[in-house]
């Protein structure tokens, strides 16, 4: 069949899609290009330079913000992945669980509510019970809203896995814990890994909640970047942005590759 008469073909879609991908990537490319600009006014190009990278790497406020973000994201990832794993096992594998649907909705609740509402609500809670420590405030809030992102891939993986393996393990006199450790966990690991990765990225990226809950000494990276953008005077900003864009793209690619490989093994 010649393409001219292919009824499923709509004219103009190819060029439109090319434009679409240009639109998706051009803004990020602009940031990367300007990060190599010697001029200290972000938008005016003079010549190629790496000076803003070296000054960004020596910026202690930036390093501290990065440390806070990594600490919060690491703790929140561990907490919410464990919470999500337990919940997924109970919801998918549990026998005669009451309120199964409701329990699942509770785990996914952060996805249903606008983040700004949750953020101010948590702020009021912490000010009422007088929690002043920024890292504790951030860790609790991040653990809560990252849980669905860890839960969904684990749940999908568990649901896609046949019960045969676990039953075979039980037939061979393995107790529940051994079955979980030696059979279930290795099989659902790609789901757990991509869930944890997702939760980590969501936590690192969060601005709305962190902006309201962080305290003077515990600024997270997005909150620090926001203050840099607002003050509008930092030529390092583009270099910082480029490094962060590269880091998240690499992390996301690794997560997607692990998930894809897991799916292939499963098939």
């Amino acid at each position: 069949m010649s393409t001219r008469h292919d009824v499923k073909r709509y004219p103009g879609l190819g060029p439109l899609s090319v434009l679409f991908f240009v639109y998706l990537y051009a803004p990020l490319a602009v940031v990367v290009i300007y990060s190599f600009n010697a001029n200290n006014i972000a938008g005016v190009w003079t010549h190629f330079s790496l000076q803003w990278y070296s000054s960004a790497l020596r910026n202690t406020a930036l390093i501290n913000a990065l440390k806070t973000s990594l600490t919060v994201a690491a703790i929140a990832t561990v907490v919410c992945t464990l919470v999500a794993l337990c919940a997924a096992l109970a919801i998918i594998r549990g026998k005669n669980v009451r309120f199964r649907k409701l329990s699942e909705t509770i785990v996914n609740l952060p996805l249903l509510l606008p983040e700004i509402v949750l953020a101010v609500a948590t702020l009021i809670l912490f000010s009422l019970i007088d929690v002043q420590n920024g890292v504790i405030r951030l860790t609790i809030a991040h653990s809560a809203f990252c849980t669905p992102f860890a839960f969904l891939p684990i749940r999908a993986r568990l649901q896609g896995m046949s019960l045969d393996f676990e039953e075979a393990s039980a037939d061979l006199y393995a107790d529940r814990w051994t079955t979980f450790r030696r059979v279930t966990l290795p099989l659902i690991f790609p789901g757990v890994f991509s869930g944890a990765m997702l939760a980590f990225l969501i936590s690192m990226d969060d601005f709305i909640t962190s902006n309201l809950l962080s305290t003077g000494g515990t600024t997270t990276l997005p909150v620090y970047i926001f203050s840099l953008i607002r003050s509008g005077t930092s030529p390092e900003l583009n270099a910082i942005a480029t490094l962060l864009i590269l880091a998240s793209l690499v992390l996301a690619t690794v997560a997607l590759l692990v998930a894809a490989r897991g799916n292939r093994d499963n098939a």
């Binding site: 990020l28 509510l113 902006n211």
Partner: protein, 309 residues
């Protein structure tokens, strides 16, 4: 007497009940219930209570029942206590809806043709293109908004390009609703393309051929066959874009400037040092009610559609 007998027979009919502390699924669900109960459900109840509390003299609030927070959304209280209708906050609510709605429509307009194009590619290229759609989504949200500040801002890429093309120089493309909308569309786009793609992928190609055999033109086929059959994906994408857009904070505060507020920035403003907490809480509850109402409406429509099939 009869009561206990009835009870006993009812019990006998059921499977023997395990005590809850012997039930592994109870312990499995406990951490998520504790975490969500403490960090989510409890705060929502507290903020609902604060929205009907009285504003404190020096910021914060006092536990006295007061509907002033909600009243302030529509009315301004004069010195003598008379109420005057002031639409400024209502306008912010309307703007929030219009911007979120426009974001959803524009995303849809691009997502459907692009998703259709991707679905017609050979498998390897299809996976690669979907990966390329997803990838920018993982770059930090604040940086994706910032990129548009460089493009639209003073001395930015686009104003300079327009100047080069002979348009008046020094045009301000920033700090208006258009700039906010541009950033909102850009940050939300992958959320629309992915569900629409998933739906178009499942579309049975023979139906398109059948439509043409019955002399349906490409346009008729699109309108009467392709779009109705991909409706679930379109609805899912619209929810994924519309709901977070209603709560947008970063886009209006960076692109819209201080004047062009949305509900998210208005709420945030009330919780900055010593402002009006009950008013902020009242707007937050209003936003939550609107989102919940929309989600329930969408769920009911989906249920009805399923029942009709």
């Amino acid at each position: 007497m009869t009561d206990s007998v009835l009870h006993a027979t009812a019990e006998a009919g059921r499977a023997p009940r395990v005590r809850f502390w012997h039930d592994p699924s109870f312990w499995g669900l406990l951490p998520s219930r504790l975490l969500m109960g403490f960090a989510l459900i409890l705060p929502i109840f507290i903020i609902a209570a604060v929205s009907v509390a009285t504003r404190g003299a020096h910021g914060g609030f006092a536990w006295d029942f007061n509907l002033a927070g909600y009243r302030q959304i529509l009315f301004n209280e004069g010195w003598t206590g008379e109420l005057e209708f002031t639409p400024q906050y209502l306008l912010i609510i309307v703007r929030t809806f219009l911007l979120a709605g426009a974001t959803t429509l524009i995303c849809l307009l691009f997502a459907v043709p692009v998703a259709y194009f991707i679905s017609r590619q050979p498998p390897g290229r299809k996976a690669a293109l979907i990966y390329l759609v997803t990838l920018p989504f993982w770059a930090s949200m604040i940086l994706r908004v910032y990129a548009w500040m460089i493009i639209l801002g003073k001395d930015g890429t686009l104003p300079r390009l327009l100047e080069y093309l002979g348009l008046p120089s020094g045009m301000s493309l920033m700090f208006n609703d258009g700039a906010t909308l541009t950033a909102m569309v850009y940050t939300a786009m992958p959320l629309m393309v992915l569900p629409v793609f998933a739906s178009i992928e499942k579309l049975d190609g023979t139906l398109i051929e059948a439509s043409h055999d019955l002399y349906g033109s490409r346009w008729v086929t699109l309108r009467r066959v392709i779009l109705p059959l991909t409706a679930p994906g379109i609805v899912a994408g619209a929810i994924l874009v519309f709901v977070p857009s209603l709560g947008a904070v970063l886009e209006p505060s960076l692109m819209g400037g201080g004047k062009q507020m949305m509900m998210g920035t208005l709420i945030q403003l009330q919780f900055g040092g010593g402002r009006n907490w009950p008013f902020g809480a009242a707007i937050a509850i209003t936003l939550m009610a609107l989102v919940m109402g929309f989600l329930i409406f969408a769920a009911l429509r989906a249920a009805r559609r399923e029942a009709a099939l």
